[in-house]
């Protein structure tokens, strides 16, 4: 690789991102890797990339900073090597409700040496599966499972029989709590540290994702109550809209208070705030109708975005996988500034049409390269060609932060990852080709 990031840059990373978000062309298209749990890289791929770049001696383990999806740490030396412009900040506990601390060695099923948090139970069960426990507490049933030979965790649904008469919104609100003084101190420290790096700060601290199916099963809760089964939740959008609306209402109040607390602590040191990662799209079309989005979700998105725009200089970030073209008029109208991951491999998600229709109002944070076919199964030349094309389409006039479509997964040929960042370095400078 010809040394991405080694090229002289004249602009600080944060300024580069801010200009892009203001729909102005900076010196180069900004780059995110690892700024959030949906813009990162599986630890197996991080390990192999670090080895290929000569950053580590063979066998040097990589930290798993997000155990649910097994994302690897994008450490400062890798940020520098690739020319990354964004650093992420989150709450002190992970998806399973324990802190990433007391690191211990483990080897993934693919043989990668890693470090995992102390509460990550690495002894397999009788099937050879790895089970995860809420808050690391093995006295309660496990909340997630990585199958033997697998690469990620998925939630184990723990659903008590539903009694329609006794449904209580409090049961679906247990995981949404006012930010604790300790968590706020952590966020403050981390934002200050991230801002001091000169990079833009992407913060995910508010618990403002309404109805995110990744969280509905309550993986960090020891005894989740309420509606926790994924299909039951989707049906509830249709069968129990009043209940869901009340959950969102209360969650919104808590979330806005948390954002206020964070703003009081760190002010505009945050560049972009991660508002929601709820997936609204399948490969072929939206999960829900535009009308249901307007009735049930949009009012809360509007409230959160209005609060952000009235009280802060933060830009608001929405992540939704899949084909969401039919929802985008309403999502953009709800006031989101940033759209991720821009899944152009899904139906109706044509890059040219997206940029032409919404490019003056939203910044595309993603869409840089297809991760369903081109990156895992294509050739390095195909990867390069797609990066070049996407830089030209999305980068014109600013409004683009380069990111792959969702996390880079495991088992991507390292040649393709090298080709990806080599091409990013080659084609990111304005004026674009």
């Amino acid at each position: 690789m010809s040394g991405p990031g080694t090229q002289q840059s004249t602009m600080a990373s944060r300024e580069r991102v801010e200009l892009a978000l203001a729909h102005t062309e900076p010196d180069r298209v900004p780059l995110d890797l690892g700024g959030s749990a949906v813009t990162g890289m599986h630890v197996d791929s991080v390990y192999r990339l670090r080895q290929a770049l000569g950053l580590d001696a063979p066998g040097t383990p990589v930290k798993v900073v997000e155990p649910y999806q097994m994302l690897g740490e994008i450490a400062p030396d890798l940020l520098d090597a690739l020319g990354v412009d964004v650093v992420g900040v989150g709450l002190p506990t992970n998806f399973f409700g324990f802190e990433n601390e007391d690191w211990k060695p483990w080897t993934t099923f693919d043989g990668t040496p890693v470090l995992v948090p102390g509460a990550f139970k690495t002894e397999p069960d009788a099937n050879g599966d790895i089970l995860m426990y809420p808050e690391g507490d093995t006295s309660v049933p496990p909340s997630a499972r990585m199958p033997n030979g697998g690469l990620y965790f998925d939630a184990i649904v723990r659903q008590d029989p539903l009694d329609e008469e006794r449904l209580d919104v409090e049961d679906n609100l247990e995981e949404f709590t006012p930010i604790s003084p300790a968590a706020l101190a952590h966020v403050t420290r981390e934002v200050e540290r991230a801002a001091a790096s000169g990079r833009a700060v992407l913060a995910n601290v508010g618990d403002t994702a309404f109805g995110d199916i990744a969280f509905v099963p309550g993986m960090k809760l020891k005894h989740p109550r309420g509606i926790r089964d994924i299909q039951e939740w989707y049906m509830s959008l249709n069968l129990r809209p009043g209940y869901v609306n009340e959950v969102f209402e209360r969650q919104c109040e808590i979330g806005l208070r948390n954002l206020e607390a964070v703003y009081d602590a760190v002010g505009d040191a945050i560049t972009v705030i991660f508002v929601t990662g709820t997936d609204f799209g399948t490969q072929q079309g939206p999960f829900i109708s535009p009308k249901l989005y307007r009735d049930l979700f949009k009012p809360f998105h509007v409230r959160v975005n209005d609060w952000i725009h009235t009280n802060t200089r933060w830009k608001s970030f929405i992540h939704s996988c899949g084909s969401i073209w039919r929802l985008l008029d309403d999502m953009v109208d709800a006031g989101f500034d940033v759209l991720n991951p821009v899944q152009t491999s899904a139906a109706d998600m044509d890059p040219v049409a997206l940029k032409a229709t919404y490019g003056d109002r939203v910044t595309f944070w993603g869409g840089g390269v297809d991760t369903q076919r081109v990156l895992p199964f294509g050739t390095p030349d195909e990867v390069r060609a797609m990066v070049k094309e996407r830089m030209r389409i999305f980068g014109s006039g600013g409004g683009f932060v380069f990111n792959t479509i969702h996390n880079l997964q495991a088992r991507i040929p390292v040649e393709n990852i090298l080709a990806l960042y080599d091409a990013v370095n080659e084609y990111r400078s304005y004026p674009l080709d």
Binding site: L151, N238, Q284, S289, T371
Partner: protein
């Protein structure tokens, strides 16, 4: 409105209790179970599939309708057995090894059940041997699902294992899931691919008609 029409409407609208009551009423009134199945449940789910494909309804409405169908079918099943009503065929369905995602797989299973097929749900993280056993047990179709680019490759291994076991001509193999395309299905030697649950029903109907 005839009773069958009322049953259809209840299923399409996702009114499980009404659908169950209509099936019970039909049986009491002497309507053949096969008629209630064909003109009630199967016709309703065909309409649901069409509405989904046209973008008139979405995943929550489809799930609610499918649940109404499933609950009504549970009441009907003993009568179908005693009447000797044949199923349209048996489909063994599962998410492949290493993959625990089942929303899409479950939707396909429900729509196929609603089209009159008997479903053998193998669940998630399904090994090749389980598909092989299901074919030995008489499945006409093996349906494999994967959400991940890292697990979709197991479909090819499953097909190789089924071929190795000498069973490739005993069952049709269909594949689906977010990263799967028709080109990929063809490349690994599957008999069919469908992009969503509704077209999966058409695919199975076509495959078993030939």
């Amino acid at each position: 409105m005839t009773l069958q029409e009322e049953l259809r409407e209840a299923v399409v609208e996702g009114q499980a209790k009404v659908a169950v009551a209509k099936v019970a009423q039909g049986l009491v009134e002497g309507v053949p179970a096969g008629t209630l199945l064909r003109e009630g449940l199967i016709a309703a789910m065909a309409k649901v599939g069409g509405l989904y494909e046209q973008g008139e309804i979405y995943v929550p409405e489809m799930l609610v309708a499918a649940r109404a169908m499933t609950e009504a079918l549970a009441v009907l099943k003993p009568e179908l057995v005693s009447e000797g009503v044949p199923t349209a065929g048996t489909v063994a369905i599962g998410t492949v090894k290493g993959d625990l995602h089942d929303i899409g797989k479950n939707l396909v299973a429900m729509m196929l059940e609603g089209a009159g097929y008997q479903i053998v749900d193998l669940g998630v993280d399904v090994r090749a041997e389980q598909f092989i056993q299901a074919i030995r047990d008489g499945a006409d179709v093996a349906a494999m699902s994967a959400l991940l680019t890292t697990t979709m490759l197991n479909m090819q291994e499953n097909i190789a294992a089924i071929t190795e076991a000498g069973l490739r001509d005993k069952a049709r193999i269909i594949v689906g899931g977010a990263p799967i395309t028709a080109e990929y299905a063809e490349a690994i030697g599957a008999d069919g691919f469908a992009a969503d649950a509704s077209s999966a029903v058409r695919m199975v109907q076509q495959l078993l008609a030939t």
